[in-house]
Subunit: 274 residues, 2 copies
Amino acid sequence: MATDPRTAIPPLDIERFRDCALELADEARNQLCVLHATAFEVKRKSDGSYVTSADVEIEQRLRAIIERRFPEHGIIGEELPARAPQAEFQWILDPIDGTEDFVQHMPTFGTIIGLHYRGEPVVGVTDVPLLDLRAHAAFGLGAFDQNGRLRLTDLAPGVSPAQTRLMLSARANFISHGDDGYRFDLVTRHYPNHRIYRSCYAHLCVARGQADAMVEHGNKLWDLAAVRILIEEAGGTYQMTQHLSTPSGPVLGAIFGKPSVVTKLLALLSEASG
Amino acid sequence: MATDPRTAIPPLDIERFRDCALELADEARNQLCVLHATAFEVKRKSDGSYVTSADVEIEQRLRAIIERRFPEHGIIGEELPARAPQAEFQWILDPIDGTEDFVQHMPTFGTIIGLHYRGEPVVGVTDVPLLDLRAHAAFGLGAFDQNGRLRLTDLAPGVSPAQTRLMLSARANFISHGDDGYRFDLVTRHYPNHRIYRSCYAHLCVARGQADAMVEHGNKLWDLAAVRILIEEAGGTYQMTQHLSTPSGPVLGAIFGKPSVVTKLLALLSEASG
């Protein structure tokens, strides 16, 4: 088995990267708190999703900070072209995850920031400004929210699927790339106590143990940029379940959360496809 | 067609009832803001759902206010036995809708308060303390949130189901009383851009036009105690779609929101069952 490439990164560097990620999250939060209360321009992208002047403006500000601090690093963002796509370190930015909620003035949107090294996550931050919630994690340094370290407790073996608290993407995500939605139907049938929130807030809830697990599907790279390191550093399990190459970048799915729940969900889905 | 019994209520009385409902919501909010930050006792009820010492304590306080102000009125609450079940005026109370969220310290729980007269809603309040959100309505007096009057704008005819923002109950609700979940499956297939939140917050979003419509199913009386008057006074449509009598009270379903969306949803479900 190959050595995890992240073990070669000096720990002091990881701390510097984490501090930069937190600075980026602060900047995004400041901007979002101002912009959500003002007039912003709303457009639809070619895939029907929303983009606002706020998405673009915040991504530009975050990019400027990264370019100043780590000029050799790459940057992949939802709204602007990639910078230095061959670099080993890649910052991955979703300035507003849940733009539809932002447009509707619902407080469940947020910012997702990740730093990956040779494809493996090193730092992750998910921030929900209007709910004053943030979780962050860095490789080997643990996961934290504003109250301290996050440590997931596994669900007791006797808890039934009906009492398991599951988070899901909307069915729109599951059918976005050739899947006929069987995963959505299967999971909602076996785990009827589910909620569907935006990725950013849902990831926070799973990392903090407020939900037991999540099934994501049909996501872009930036949607999942922070969650794996958050979950793994909190003691949970993260398993990629979809990785499609498309002209507009990879399409990803994953199941993550409390270990025994992830195991059961993976078994359910592998039975169905096997 | 029979005259609406509510037209016989003097408008000044409706204002008094509304003011009392707002006083109840203030009391519940004050208590919830204190209690959610302190230790409260959590138990599971016979149906597997949670109840906390906070649910019971708040319901007792709300009942005391109603009994003092309107001793002849009936009271139906989630946690305590009915008072004066034959009275024409019935206060219907859900001190904490989304107790599971309250237990997990997620801010999407809230209080639902309704006053019904001969089964027709006269006053409704839905309050989400930690998000500082409230909507209220009274028969003939309009619907309001903290920013002013709520007036729903219908969705433009060209908006596709995929771009319609739908709110839903979890599948657990749809299968709770003999239904096999076909309504959940049908609606999630045709309207893939859905979110699943707790009733209280979801009703607020629909009344404020942040979501286009909602499909509720398998609910108790108190879950839907406020939403019909909120939606109708905001210019939306409310249609009951389920009314089962059970030993523990009626089980209800409804579709409500922007008129053209409600019409399409009703047609979808009637085609499927016809």
